[in-house]
Point group: C2
Chain length 104, copies 2
């Protein structure tokens, strides 16, 4: 097989992928804004940063949606677990700030 | 701080997060369908599975969108690089199948 210039259809499909990636970033931006609020509420109400039941249910639900839409559940769970680890880190930071301002 | 039951606002915010996660899975499902087509086109036209220029431009573009929407570019790039690694693996598999069917 000889190397050819990039075919027109490939360029069109790539444009669609670019739009999807923009959508992914927007959804993640919204998600982090919402989990920021969750962190504040948890700190206000003295709830733990990690909620193992919520995480377990969330991952089970995501796996079911993946199966329905024929996406690899392993890869998507891996991505979501990465996002959730970041969220817990942020929640711990918000809690720390709340405790500091109480003791200050 | 005493542990309290989950406040109503937290439950409402979680419902919004759940809807976002469904959106994320749908976008990823669409993305994998499109990259499947990219893999087929690359195999047909004898193009390499990995396109370092495209990947580099893609990551730079994603970082710019992240900065615009105040999302951590490091985390999102990490997620996208994970997705792209999977896509390259799939493209290699498609290429292998195309070569096998040519030689068979």
């Amino acid at each position: 097989m000889a190397t050819e210039p990039v075919p027109a259809e490939l360029l069109r499909v790539r444009e669609q992928i670019d739009r999807i990636d923009q959508g992914l970033v927007l959804l993640l931006a919204n998600r982090f804004a919402l989990t920021q609020r969750v962190g504040e509420l948890k700190a206000e109400h003295g709830l733990e940063s990690v909620d193992p039941d919520r995480e377990m249910n969330k991952l089970a639900e995501i796996r079911a949606i993946c199966v329905k839409h024929k996406v690899d559940p392993g890869l998507v769970s891996e991505i979501l677990e990465r996002v959730m680890r970041e969220v817990v880190k942020n929640h711990d930071a918000i809690k720390g700030q709340a405790l500091n301002s109480q003791s200050g």
